[in-house]
Symmetry: C2
Subunit: 250 residues, 2 copies
């Protein structure tokens, strides 16, 4: 039985060592949009077990920080990004056999970043990888521990979060076009949305996106310049954009 080493903050007569002790880690699934597809950040493990294999960034929770603070610290250490646009806890994993070394309970967080360039600035480039989430889910990248399951749960979570809350704006920059915002939904849900109807629904949701009055300069292929918006307050429960079941456009 694992015993705790020392914890002298217990009151009189109380012996914490009679309870099983666990190591607690925090893992962060870092999502971003790149090349029109959902990507995630992986780091190469430098130590056993699973040495050399790809894994979700994470580390041990320290005794004097909250779980959220630990997740934020791990994210900052790995990407250099502090205060991300979104950092949500979505699961805890405690299978006794999930870590061959010892009994580790991990709490998983979901981070959404918008600046791809800043990612992987903290670590060596050879040890960080921005990979399409679809590749990971398809098993093209083998992950350490039970991290594949964690990624699956993270993707499931972001998909419903997209519909229930207004986190889509977390994927895009401080100002964005509605086409960019629509691409977030399309890439995450794997469907196509009508641009005209999407626009109508988005601007109808009062206060979610705010027009800035400015426009983009069009790309090299031309086209009418798009209006620029910035994120307003996000809604909770029942947003305007709904996931359709199987409406595949012709």
């Amino acid at each position: 039985m694992v015993t705790k080493s020392d914890n002298s903050q217990a009151p009189e007569g109380y012996d914490p060592s009679q309870f099983p002790a666990f190591a607690v880690t925090v893992d962060v699934v870092i999502l971003t949009m790149a090349a029109g597809a959902l990507h995630m950040l992986l780091v190469r493990r430098g130590e056993a077990p699973f040495k050399g294999m790809w894994a979700i960034p994470g580390g041990f929770k320290r005794p004097n920080e909250t779980l959220h603070e630990a997740a934020r610290r791990e994210l900052a250490e790995e990407t250099g990004v502090d205060v991300p646009t979104l950092l949500t806890q979505f699961g805890a994993y405690g299978d006794p056999k999930r870590d061959p070394r010892m009994n580790v309970v991990t709490v998983a967080y979901l981070a959404v970043l918008r600046e791809v360039g800043a990612i992987a600035a903290g670590t060596d480039a050879a040890d960080a990888l921005l990979v399409p989430v679809a590749d990971v889910l398809r098993g093209k990248v083998e992950l350490a521990f039970d991290h594949l399951q964690i990624v699956r749960d993270a993707v499931d979570r972001v998909r419903v979060e997209l519909e229930v809350t207004g986190i889509a704006t977390a994927f895009v920059g401080p100002t964005f076009t509605l086409a960019e915002l629509r691409a977030v939904y399309e890439a995450t849900w794997g469907i196509e949305l009508d641009a005209a109807n999407f626009r109508r629904s988005v601007v109808a949701e009062d206060g979610w996106v705010i027009p800035t009055g400015r426009r983009t300069q069009p790309g090299p292929s031309g086209g009418r310049p798009a209006e620029l918006y910035r994120a307003g307050r996000a809604w909770k429960n029942g947003g305007p954009i709904h996931r359709v079941k199987a409406t595949e456009r012709k």
Copy 2:
């Protein structure tokens, strides 16, 4: 301070004590319908800290069980009910100050039961209490630790779960009328739904509820006997019943 880089990894000469150790507990928010309102189970704490105060049932995770198994065990110990209709993990709480004794990380589960009678069969009646959730949220019952926040999160979760998945059937018995099912939505969301429109939406969702052909015997106040249904397969993502924003009927 423990860092990731300083652990010399030899699989045999591994020393777990160099990592901060935590106690890990599992707390279960047990929800059920009673008297047309959402109720939850509380237990009275027999030990310090917060001795004598009401709390969510829970306990320490054992080293050789998963988190889900621990939640199931705690639920069975407290209510006598094994294999509940629903047991979902919804959050982890790890504030260093959440337990004055020691550093405890707790993983919170949400259980939905349908048989109210079986609840609190495991413990002394004086030490278990089935209380309306609204009373807890309103602060009428003071809870130990950060359990009030946990209950808030549980209720938030069950509200969106009701809309996104088909868990409403977990609240009702093996066979049920549509009025009972509608009462689950109404009590959880605090709104009223039109009975006729509700019926249409429910039966339109293919395979969710299955008519049994039988009927209830009406209550003492008479009324047409309602058809009995049993739960079919639950849907994922985009159910038929949607939470309306502010449609208060006259």
